[in-house]
């Protein structure tokens, strides 16, 4: 019984226990204990994080000649670590005052279901991460899709339900694409196991690889929410009930990235992907995927800029940062991939912290709408501090960890000589900085409203996970080496040269990065600034918010002297016209096309003798399959090759 078995079995048993005990009050404490134990089990496998051998689970199933087995290697250990840590913090967050309020507002049953959804999500993610071959990968993939659908569908109101339905439609389409790709791989390489598939890939010609890569990319891209398929993610994650959004926002979309790295980078190999030329464009497949990542960085971030609700702004950022990771991974050299993978960890920490602060604000003021908030910094100072730490991370500004992974990606783009991709990434970062300040300003700064004067700080049970995450963000920012060790091990697992690093950062002959020095100098600068400020200047007096310059006007609470709606008016004058939500129109067009086709076939089917019609179709299908050298039009020339083997 290897450690992996214990982990998977323990999580399965725990989920059964939680399903059974979901109505009891102690369920929240119980779930916290479950996640702590799961993390302990994972840490027992921590040798993987430092270059250890893959841990195989003893449980195998052979199905029509194929052996399904489950194993953990460095990459899946890295993702599993993030999943379990985020799940632990979410459980901590849900166990305290937030949970009681959720029980009072909704019902004990709803709270229980939320806990169940969380444990099922964690279980399905572990199964996906532990997958040893393509079939178990698909099983895990399906489990994850359905588990996150369950989490989203818990929110009773209409918008959430519609978003959940839209998600599951996208997910099913993605799953079909992946199933198609797996079937074709099996056809071409004769086996499903990663190792044989890898060897089998060598004989395939470029067009077959092109079909495979595009199908896998579409399947995994839908889950990651890359640019053509990004419409479902923001509403779905924003509308999941508070604590659920914390977990979903942080890690659930990254499963797509895991599978993408596993299949495209490890099995097919980026060199093969780069060899495929896309006709009529000077791009190759790898550049095309990198551009998809770059576009996903820009467009959702600027949509986030226009949002008027904190949860939606954060959810759109989730989509944007996903683009960063894809961009990082798609740069073939070691620094870029390290940047992409490390960004998963960094992003999970500050996105979870941000969602927690927004949920804390909702818990205290009842709304996350920017036009109803303002000036909460004096009422909720600790929540404000956590939000500032995480927005510095999200914007990628030095002392925090977000900066390290962005630096890696920029450095890789610089070395790789991709000017336009570099500029696209920078436009994305600047858009993040702008929308992140809008988030902090509209909720915490500016004039305090009359009705929020007696709002109190978030309860302790919510503060502890928030402060914990803030400390993690700062610690991994100052000493990125800790995370870089795991990332290097993961790179070895997927067959890419690991990035050479030390505790402070990266050594490079053409200019490296040492975060300990950078942070040290920054805090030296802050110390000098504080000395200048506190010792050279005289005493200053704190004054009331109505004692303000208003051009000679006497400020009272009757006049709301606060600027928050239409925050970047100047910028919006210029780029306002560019938001023509073309993707939403594209989606409507697709939806109407499908409904039109189904209508067509429906009344075609209802026309005369339906039975005769069905028989004819079945006969045609049989004939088509039987004919060995079927002259029927083949979907693609690649499939033809496979059939003839």
């Amino acid at each position: 019984m290897s450690v992996l078995d214990d982990l998977l079995l323990f999580t399965a048993l725990a989920s059964v226990a939680i399903i059974v005990l979901r109505r009891f009050a102690f369920i929240s404490k119980f779930s916290v204990v479950v996640y702590v134990l799961a993390t302990v089990l994972l840490i027992k496998m921590s040798a993987l994080g430092y270059g250890g051998e893959a841990v195989y689970s003893s449980f195998t199933v052979n199905v029509l000649g194929q052996v399904l087995q489950w194993r953990f290697d460095a990459l899946s250990w890295f993702f599993a670590l993030i999943t379990l840590v985020v799940a632990l913090f979410t459980a901590l967050f849900m166990s305290g005052a937030w949970g009681d309020k959720y029980r009072k507002e909704h019902s004990k049953e709803a709270y229980g279901l939320l806990q169940v959804a969380l444990i099922l999500n964690v279980l399905s993610m572990l199964v996906l991460l532990a997958s040893g071959d393509l079939l178990s990968l698909f099983i895990g993939w399906e489990l994850v899709s359905w588990a996150s659908f369950m989490m989203m569908a818990l929110n009773p109101d209409k918008v959430a339900r519609k978003a959940a339905i839209k998600y599951i439609v996208y997910a099913m389409a993605g799953a079909m694409a992946i199933l198609m790709a797996i079937a074709m791989t099996y056809n071409m390489t004769g086996s499903l196991d990663y190792v044989q598939v890898m060897q089998g890939m060598a004989q395939l010609n470029n067009s077959q690889i092109a079909v495979l890569v595009s199908l896998y990319a579409i399947g995994f891209g839908i889950k990651m929410g890359v640019i053509p398929f990004h419409l479902w993610q923001a509403t779905a994650y924003a509308e999941t009930p508070g604590a659920g959004a914390v977990f979903m926002g942080a890690i659930s979309a990254r499963m797509g990235l895991y599978a993408l790295i596993l299949v495209i980078v490890q099995i097919i190999g980026l060199t093969r992907v780069a060899a495929i030329e896309i006709p009529y464009t000077f791009l190759d497949m790898q550049n095309a995927l990198a551009w998809v990542g770059a576009l996903t960085t820009i467009i959702p971030t600027y949509i986030a800029l226009k949002q008027n609700d904190a949860r939606y702004l954060l959810a759109w950022h989730g989509v944007g940062q996903g683009g960063y990771m894809l961009l990082g991974v798609m740069i073939a050299d070691s620094i870029g991939t390290a940047g992409g993978i490390m960004h998963v960890f960094n992003y999970a920490t500050y996105q979870a912290a941000l969602f927690m602060t927004v949920t804390a604000v909702i818990y205290r003021t009842g709304t996350s709408n920017f036009s109803k908030l303002g000036g909460l910094v004096t009422q909720m100072p600790l929540t404000f501090m956590v939000m500032v730490v995480s927005i510095i991370g999200l914007a990628g500004i030095p002392p925090m960890n977000g900066f390290v992974s962005k630096w890696l990606i920029y450095r890789a783009l610089l070395l790789d000589g991709q000017p336009l991709l570099f500029v696209a990434a920078v436009i994305g970062t600047l858009g993040t900085i702008l929308s992140v300040y809008k988030l902090v300003h509209n909720t915490f700064l500016g004039q305090l409203r009359l009705e929020h004067q007696d709002v109190r700080e978030a309860p302790l049970s919510m503060l502890i996970p928030m402060l914990g995450l803030a400390i993690i963000i700062f610690a991994t920012g100052v000493m990125p080496g800790v995370v870089l060790d795991w990332v290097a091990a993961a790179q070895i697992a997927i067959g890419i040269a690991p990035v050479e690093h030390n505790l402070g950062g990266i050594e490079l002959v053409q200019g490296g990065l040492n975060m300990i020095w950078v942070t040290g100098v920054m805090f030296y600068g802050f110390a000098v600034g504080a000395i200048i400020f506190y010792f050279l200047g005289g005493k200053s007096k704190h004054i009331h918010q109505y004692d303000n310059y208003a051009g000679g006007h006497f400020l009272t609470s009757k006049v709301r002297y606060h600027y928050s709606n239409h925050f970047y008016a100047g910028l919006m004058h210029l780029i306002g016209g560019w938001y023509r939500n073309i993707f939403i129109k594209l989606e409507y067009a697709l939806v109407s096309l499908v409904s039109f086709m189904s209508q067509l076939s429906e009344n075609f089917y209802r026309s005369s003798q339906p039975a005769m019609l069905v028989a004819a179709i079945v006969m045609l299908a049989l004939w088509y399959i039987m004919s060995a050298d079927g002259s029927a039009p083949v979907l693609v020339q690649g499939l033809q090759g496979g059939m003839s083997k």
């Binding site: 500032v388 000017p419 005289g538 200053s540 910028l571």
Partner: protein
Amino acid sequence: MTSVTELLAELLLMPFIAFVVGLAMVLMYRKIAARLQRRIGPPLLQPIYDIVKLYGKETQISHGLIHDIGLVMAVGGYVAAEIFLPVPGMDGIADKGGIITLSYVLMVPSLGLALGVGQCANPNGSIGISRALTAMLAYDIPFIIVVFGVATHYQSTSLVGMIEYQQIHQWGIFEMPLLAVAGLFALQGMMGKQPFEIYVAPAEIATGPMVEMSGKYMGGLFVMQTFQLYTAGVLYTSLFLGGGANWFEFLVKIFIVVAIPMSVALVFPRYRTEDMVRIMWKWPVMVALIGIAFVL
């Protein structure tokens, strides 16, 4: 790696030099402004008088702790940024973090100031900050393209490496003239002077972010302005004019580099926010992209 004591000396000396040279630059700016308007202009030590008077104020108002911390972050961020800038004789820790780190450390002061002004709870300040961040978005894109071109040309992102490269070969400005021009344009935006001064528009939003700053807060912003001018000058010099072999040549270069945008600034009126973004995304970006085409 320079010895620890030498590093400590640099930690103290570099910001101080930056402050003194910055004061001279502020004086130059006001003198140029006066001369252009056919006036005599302020006496020689006027910037120092202003700063000492502001710090000598008896009463100051503050809107809360974040207002204070915001200002400390603003001045401290620039002090930290000075240490990344190599000057003749002192390299600070320019090789620990390259030009990308520097351009991100330069964002720390504007973020700190933004948080501080946010707590001033004055809409003039918030409008000023939203315009300042839009301006940053505007001038940062051509600046980053220039940085990309320069980094690929010198094959290194650390300023020290770039300066050595330029000492051996010619100056950057001769090898990448187009990038130099685009860099100057971006510098104009970065210095926040007249044509792109939308976020400190005294007539419309009562000096934007500085609306609630009195006494030592205003003094802190004056100090920050000196650092801003100094950083812009030194950055451009080390990218395109080959840093300084000795102090005199270095100072001459910085003052010329800073004088050009200043004199351009004083003859232009203020652009609206969207016009600024449009201009910054159109001309310097075009020039820089063509410049990169040559570099690649």
